[in-house]
């Protein structure tokens, strides 16, 4: 069992900044995210896109913002459960919570802060009628263990970075790699596109474009896919694995069943006070919440996280006095033993 003060669901900008604000109050945080890396949308969908409305940054790339937030939170040694989705929440008699992920990892926390953005990112599944029957039986939407493809015939479909990157990676492991895309053009980093071209020329990747996988064959396990090339008859391609990589789309998911007040796919919170939900001790901050006048902006998430941490402190220590301290005045004491503080003024007589 992982134990922490504040369990943050979602490791996007708002969740990461919560670690810092909680740390100033000596509260420890642990984050759960369905994606394999922190950063949320910023690192998953648009790491190379600039953001212009982060205070004091006239321009910052979404990926760089994530890196800076991680760097800022590091001194407070946050824990991470990545690649797992928060599934259930159980309130304990003492008012604390146990949150369990889809993989059964249990987290015990005094406070739960949902910073889930638009929800957890789920793979977008192509519209092939029998695809569900082959999930985990040769059809994988996310590559978790590349080793299972060793010496197998693999068909990848998609036209973005992940399709290109995995085609390149698996070309060294699998017996055969076929990349199928609806266009001749790919939407990815230039060096990935060039690498695939090179591997295609070497005969290590077979490219079928413009084409689409229209059907899956097999009884228990995938044995092949039906491919339709534009303007030609469909043909069968032998395959042990079919990996459709069409990106991810966010779904609120199991959090929707936690008994929270939900409106317009977002969690209603008390914005007059502390962004608490209808369940005391459970807060919702950032894009995942809603209240009159809500704006889904990163900077609003930062503000909400800050107020939420103050409220969490009062909930954990109801009788303890505390006033907010400026970091410039009090410095920052990390949980890792580091201390940051403003340099002392020099006091020296002038002769």
């Amino acid at each position: 069992m992982i134990t922490t003060d504040i369990l943050i669901i979602g490791a996007g900008p708002t969740g990461l900044f919560t670690v810092f604000e909680a740390g100033l109050l000596k509260l420890k945080c642990h984050l759960i995210d369905a994606l394999p890396q922190p950063g949320g949308q910023c690192s998953e969908i648009y790491p190379k896109k600039p953001i212009y409305d982060i205070p004091a940054y006239p321009e910052i790339l979404a990926g760089d913002l994530t890196h800076k937030l991680i760097e800022q939170s590091k001194q407070f040694s946050p824990g991470f459960t990545l690649g797992e989705r928060a599934e259930t929440i159980d309130k304990q008699v003492d008012g604390s919570f146990i949150v369990t992920t889809n993989k059964g990892t249990k987290h015990h926390a005094k406070i739960v802060a949902i910073a889930g953005g638009l929800g957890s990112f789920e793979p977008r599944k192509p519209l092939i009628p029998n695809i569900a029957a082959f999930e985990d039986k040769g059809v994988e939407y996310i590559i978790k263990e590349p080793e299972i493809y060793r010496d197998k015939k693999v068909v990848i479909s998609g036209g973005g970075d992940s399709a290109l990157d995995w085609a390149i990676f698996l070309s060294n492991i699998a017996a055969e790699v076929t990349l199928i895309h609806r266009r001749n053009e790919f939407r990815g980093a230039l060096d990935s596109v060039e690498k695939v071209q090179e591997l295609k020329n070497l005969g290590k990747i077979r490219l079928i474009t413009p084409a689409e996988v229209k059907g899956i064959l097999g009884t228990d396990f995938v044995t092949g896919v039906a491919v339709e090339k534009k303007g030609e008859d469909a043909f069968i391609l032998d395959a042990d694995h079919f990996i459709p990589l069409f990106g991810l789309s966010p779904k609120l998911g199991p959090i929707g069943n936690w008994g929270l007040d939900i409106e317009k796919n977002a969690i209603k919170v008390d914005n007059a006070l502390d962004y608490q939900t209808n369940i005391p001790g459970v807060y919702a901050i950032g894009d995942v919440n809603t209240y009159p006048g809500k704006l889904k902006l990163i900077l609003c998430g930062f503000h909400e996280a800050t107020l939420m941490c103050q409220s969490a402190y009062k909930r954990i220590f109801p009788n303890k006095k505390y006033v907010m301290k400026y970091t410039t005045v009090g410095g920052v004491d990390g949980f890792d033993g580091t201390r940051k503080e403003a340099p002392k003024a020099v006091v020296k007589a002038i002769e």
Binding site: I45, R124, G159, R182, R183, E185, N265, A266
Partner: protein, 109 residues
């Protein structure tokens, strides 16, 4: 600057005639959101960067819209339920030329 009229058929098949300003640099996806014609969280997920296809729509009137950019074309190549008249709403700007535009929102995917 004048307002224009747009006809939007939502994902439940209901057609709405809405008024869109042409002086606020708005696109069709944002018009749909401002009138709440699609559930929040199911449209404009990437914010309007032609990076998610959640605002895909079918243009059913014969308006000459600005050409499809490379970004939009590449994204449509990875979207589902794509038809000949598919566009990404976030790439259709509300200008005088779009007056009378008729679109149908593509299914959620």
């Amino acid at each position: 600057m004048q307002d224009i009229n747009i006809k939007i058929t939502d994902r439940n098949g209901v057609t709405h005639t809405v008024v869109a300003p042409t002086d606020m640099a708005m696109n069709l996806m944002e018009i749909v959101r401002s009138y709440e014609l699609a559930e929040e969280g199911t449209i404009g997920i990437c914010g309007g960067m032609a990076m998610c296809a959640s605002c895909q729509c079918y243009v059913t009137s014969d308006h000459e819209l600005p050409e499809i950019s490379e970004d939009e074309d590449a994204m449509l190549a990875e979207a589902f339920y794509v038809e000949e008249n598919s566009r990404l709403g976030c790439q259709i700007q509300m200008t005088a030329a779009a007056n009378g535009l008729e679109v149908t929102l593509a299914p959620e995917s």
